[in-house]
Symmetry: C2
Subunit: 342 residues, 2 copies
DNA sequence: GTTAGCACTCGTTTAGGTGGAGTGCTAATC
DNA sequence: GATTAGCACTCCACCTAAACGAGTGCTAAC
């Protein structure tokens, strides 16, 4: 059987209607709702076909139809067209540049949740490709050395190293020079064992302690960043009866609080061919507690190659149009902001 | 009317029983449950008295009794005796020292939630009373100066300052010396406007730019720390039917996610006279969404005067004994750990 | 002062009944 | 052949009434 134009229109109407009401959609509704001028009986026949083809489901005999995952997928793939949309609040918020990334992201998540009435999550941009800009060691206390590393994008890492043996001012100065000459301009992923041992060689004489320090600095640079995911609007799931029953809600809330699983959604390989927008419907998502949800994620980029991901989690009947629109706007805004101020 | 020994015993029995079952407790249950050897009729009379006195409540005529806030308060105040308790997991976890405070706290919250089956929260220790140990300015880029401040307890603050006019190496050196001489050893709360202007005077010549830098450093030092509160086990509220209905659950979950309100519970003035353990029953808590909960908080101390608070949120019928015991153990463990490794 | 007993209350559960939305099928119509 | 009107049927959602039972307050006897 083929999905002709009329079937497509009916499917579209079923999904649209279900998105609005959250209730199974009957043939009579469609008959009135569309401009097809068909009787409910005809619609019924078509709907029977659509069901056979797997696009819609009947919760029980003599109930209306609801979209299946396949139906949603069809809808998202073919019918969704992105609309640019004003998100005034968000724009205003982002324009007043904040200095703390953390706060910005948390706020983006919050505003997004308020705007969409869904649950949101956002991962902090990874800086794996970024270049080291500045390294400095300073003695802060006996046996304690502070290592500060500044990476492009002005991300600062620091670490206190405890050394067994005191380092002279001279050695420290030499080490600083050495580290800066060798590391500045390299991206984090470019720093490898080979160069570290080369540096140790150059450091020469005090190789024991100095070697330790160099190792520690390298470790600090390479250290995996924390799992930085910010969430908001988790409680929005209670707006959608199909997600709000205790068991499901509990699972979902746990997922949002624990955050580990969210990583699977947010740190997907960025397939840069596209707009960076991904839609996961039901079981398409790698997170099992979201089997009754849909997830839309968007990759954002902050000028200098730092990339993170924003995600929106809602019921399958989420307003895909609006969500995708909002995410696109947000993408471009984030881009702008950081181009101007980066 | 007076709360004699028999009434006390009955009240205690009612509360104990309610803690276990979560159901209103009838007179017959008490008659069997206690060793008083009284008939249910007698118990009924006593319970009527207790109700009149405000210690217990009847959800409706012909239902059993549930403790009122006053009843819980009485129970907590008089009957609760702290027991030392093994919290093996927690001990093990804390013994393997982690370097990132954030991770430790997050993990403590999680383990605590798993142990107690309640929702938990923990605030990062504040360092307001701590002393500045080291200050350093370095040029990282044109017009960009990195200020690093190390405070006792090896807490590091840093900030990138953007300056309009380039500072010479010499000026920077001078500034570093000035800042260190003036600020080292002072606690953050001791740094005030007077000293800042004195420093500016000493700085002399380049007062314009230099003044700016000094201000920025002072700001960075005084900057309110982020609202660092970690939560876990929020979804445990679904274990307790009296908290699990949609509206209440939604409110509570929001409170836990937003975290702002939790601050009111966790950043109370530490009344150091006591063990640092506080119990809020129902409306005693400043957070309205917790009107049906009880909250137990414990102040912990990390050696050098840094203090934070741990909180446990559960139903009013939470196991106060266990919770207080667990928190006390945790307090002492945290203390030990940081004495050994601080 | 304590207890047994009883009438009473009131929320909870169960069963039955009804209405309505929606279907599938068939026969008539275009 | 496609469309439609009509009808019998299904099944959920909702309501009501009845039965249940846990627990009470009160009274009278011990």
């Amino acid at each position: 059987m083929e999905l002709d134009e009329r079937k497509t229109k009916i499917l579209q109407a079923v999904i649209r209607n279900y998105l609005e009401t959250g209730e199974p959609v009957g043939s009579r509704t469609i008959s009135k709702y569309t401009d097809l001028n068909l009787s409910s009986a005809t619609i019924r026949n078509e709907m029977a076909d659509l069901e056979e083809m797997g696009y819609i489901l009947q919760p029980h005999t003599s109930a209306g139809r609801t979209p299946s995952d396949k139906g949603y997928r069809f809808y998202v793939d073919t019918m969704m067209e992105a609309k640019e949309r004003e998100v005034v609040e968000m724009k205003e918020m982002l324009l007043e540049r904040q200095d703390k990334m953390e706060q910005v992201l948390q706020r983006v998540a919050k505003v997004l949740a308020q705007n969409t009435q869904y649950a949101t999550m956002i991962s902090a941009p990874k800086m794996a490709g970024n270049k080291v800009k500045f390294v400095q060691l300073s003695r802060v206390d006996e046996g304690q050395i502070l290592a500060v590393i500044v990476v492009e994008g002005n991300v600062i890492k620091n670490n206190i190293l405890t050394v067994r043996e005191e380092l002279s001012d001279e050695t420290l100065l030499k080490l600083n020079l050495l580290l800066n000459t060798n590391l500045t301009g390299l991206s984090i992923s470019e720093i490898n064992l080979g160069m570290i041992s080369a540096m140790k060689q150059q450091a020469g004489i005090h190789s024991d302690i100095v070697g330790e320090v160099i190792d520690a600095v390298a470790d600090a640079i390479k250290a995996e960043e924390d799992l930085e995911i910010y969430t908001s609007g988790t409680n929005n799931i209670f707006r959608y009866p199909e997600l709000a029953d205790q068991e499901k809600a509990s699972e979902l809330i746990n997922t949002f609080e624990e955050k580990e699983q969210l990583e699977n959604l947010l740190n997907q390989d960025f397939d840069s061919d596209n707009t960076g927008i991904q839609v996961y419907i039901g079981n398409e998502s790698p997170v099992s507690s979201m089997r009754d949800c849909s997830v839309v994620t968007a990759t954002y980029e902050l000028g200098d190659g730092m990339r993170g991901t924003i995600g929106i989690v809602g019921p399958k009947r989420m307003d895909y149009d609006k969500v995708v629109g909002t995410l696109k706007t947000l993408q471009s805004k984030l881009d702008e902001i950081y181009k101007d101020h980066g």
